[in-house]
Assembly symmetry: C2
Homo-oligomer: 337 residues x 2
């Protein structure tokens, strides 16, 4: 199976956005400090001030897993952590978060659980849950379904922005473990696990070693804020030359977002063992590795690039694993499939 | 008809949010400067700094009118202008905006038009379109349907925050005209105009004086940024003691959000003529005035409170009309129905 078979067409979105670049740029002036396609937008309200860094996201069809499992207090955490990671990769720490929740029909017990999830995520990352909007839209949403979106705003001093420009050939590439799919690839996962393999969220296939399909799929997106703070504290801000959040588009689409022209990240996928949920999806769906690494994070949620000689494995609790190195080259990212 | 008959239950949302207040507050520290229920959240990253003001919103089922009319480049403007007005009422001017767009299936021509609408709105308000997220979620959204959410961030100097605390008995209450429903009450409007009265978006009932139902319903939410800037320039910031965006919940729910305890805004609804679209909805739906003024803005999108002697009618292009005054009282807002 391929991602497109599950009804999601990444190329369609990419094409539509390419047509819109000019529109978007027409709203920018010299206060906008990022290029198109960055994880977060960088905005400097006045010269010399710290930069505000903002990002918006959803959790995709992970919301449908939450509904199938009747567990509503984790997707909000997913979304906060996802957003935190999106601005962290540019060096920013979070200030506040705002949420949007919309559904076909408001049910008494769902919304408070959803909001509790946002609150847990915000507390854990030191962000204020500064605003929210709730909408009941019968007809727009399918019966019983809901969607979430969230926006985070953080900031970073101008001299601390991480934009990948200091990455050099010979740098080492580290991976920090993910907890599962995080917030991407759920349409393919659902097509394989539920439609093709016939599992329910309560099934416990041997491959998951006792964990249910629902638990594996709902594992909360990891915030990398504290591990990265620990790296900065231990080695200094300059030692972290590049950070990449492995989100929609997997290794192939995300790593090039932070790698300068003329360099290539060579990823050795034998350096770590993908989480069981990925092996299960690959096997049951007959999904090629080239597709798996394009859709999923495969067990690595954050890629960190640091000079040789910096041992990120020393950072307790981070779980950093050496997964490759940077070389001269035109491909930006290479995997052996 | 009542709003609840159209499938939207404002009370359910209010109750659920009341249950969540403690969760939300658990994420706040002394950097959060607003009370629960403010139009925008106020955040001061460090003492003495200007406050960041942020708000998130959607356009409700106005998205369904856009789809019925096949016109996709206005709802983005609606959302930007709505958000601009939500932070303007606390004295803030916009910095940047981020959008979220999700649909059942990405269609080639819809997304670029949607984004163009966001870009127009951002350019007109001097805000950067700093980020966006697009999601294709078959199953969550009904076939062909889509939803939008947007988040704005602006800022205001600490001494310029408008929180209503300077409002006093004897102050005058001004109304600035809306262009139509703006972004609220569309579920009731659709139930009355399409389901009950049987109109299509192309019909031109006599009451609308040549305008089609679709055009009247898609009229773009007005940004009050420039009129309010003109008031500040003409009379000084201190002369504007209260600003209230008439959004979901109409006069009854929004005016109390900015009125101090012990004061009451007495609105004289004969001071202006509601736009024809409201008269049409009221008549065709048999909707009581008490319900109309609770759901719709009735032709007044922004309420401005200023001391007696300040003639806001002098501000060219603002269209300010005197609609009432502030007196001592416990009701916060009074209308004659």
């Amino acid at each position: 199976m391929k991602y497109a078979d599950s009804g999601v067409n990444i190329d369609a979105a990419t094409k539509a956005l390419a047509r819109s670049k000019k529109s978007i740029r027409s709203t920018w002036d010299d206060r906008v400090k990022n290029e198109m396609g960055a994880f977060g937008g960088l905005f400097q309200a006045a010269p010399g001030e710290p930069l505000l860094v903002a990002s918006v996201d959803g959790v995709g069809t992970k919301v449908m897993i939450a509904r199938m499992a009747g567990r509503y207090n984790t997707v909000g955490q997913d979304l906060v952590n996802h957003c935190v990671d999106d601005i962290l990769v540019q060096g920013a720490e979070p200030l506040f978060f705002l949420d949007y929740f919309a559904t076909s029909k408001l049910e008494d017990d769902v919304l408070p659980d959803i909001i509790e999830g946002f609150a847990i995520g915000c507390r854990e990352n030191g962000a204020a849950l500064l605003g929210g909007e709730t909408a009941e839209m019968p007809g727009v949403y399918s019966a019983g379904e809901f969607d979430l979106a969230g926006t985070i705003v953080g900031r970073v001093r101008e001299e601390d922005v991480i934009d990948g420009s200091r990455i050099a050939a010979g740098d080492k590439v580290w991976g920090l473990p993910s907890t599962g799919l995080h917030t991407n690839g759920y349409s393919l996962a659902r097509a394989v696990l539920f439609d093709k393999a016939g599992y329910t969220v309560n099934d416990t296939p041997d491959e998951l070693g006792g964990t249910s399909v629902g638990d594996a799929l709902l594992a909360v997106h990891r915030s990398y804020l504290n591990p990265v703070r620990a790296m900065w504290a231990e080695f200094g801000r300059d030692a972290i030359r590049g950070l990449c959040h492995i989100t929609g588009g997997g290794f192939y689409d995300n790593i090039p977002r932070v790698i300068p022209d003329g360099l290539c990240v060579n990823v050795d996928p034998t350096a770590w063992t993908p989480l069981p949920i990925f092996s299960l999806i690959g096997a049951r769906g007959g999904v090629a590795n080239s597709e798996m690494y394009r859709v999923f994070n495969m067990g690595i949620g954050l890629v960190v690039i640091a000079p040789a000689g910096i041992d990120l494995g020393r950072i307790e609790g981070a779980g950093a694993v050496l997964i490759g190195e940077v070389s001269a080259g035109d491909d930006k990212v290479k995997l052996p499939f």
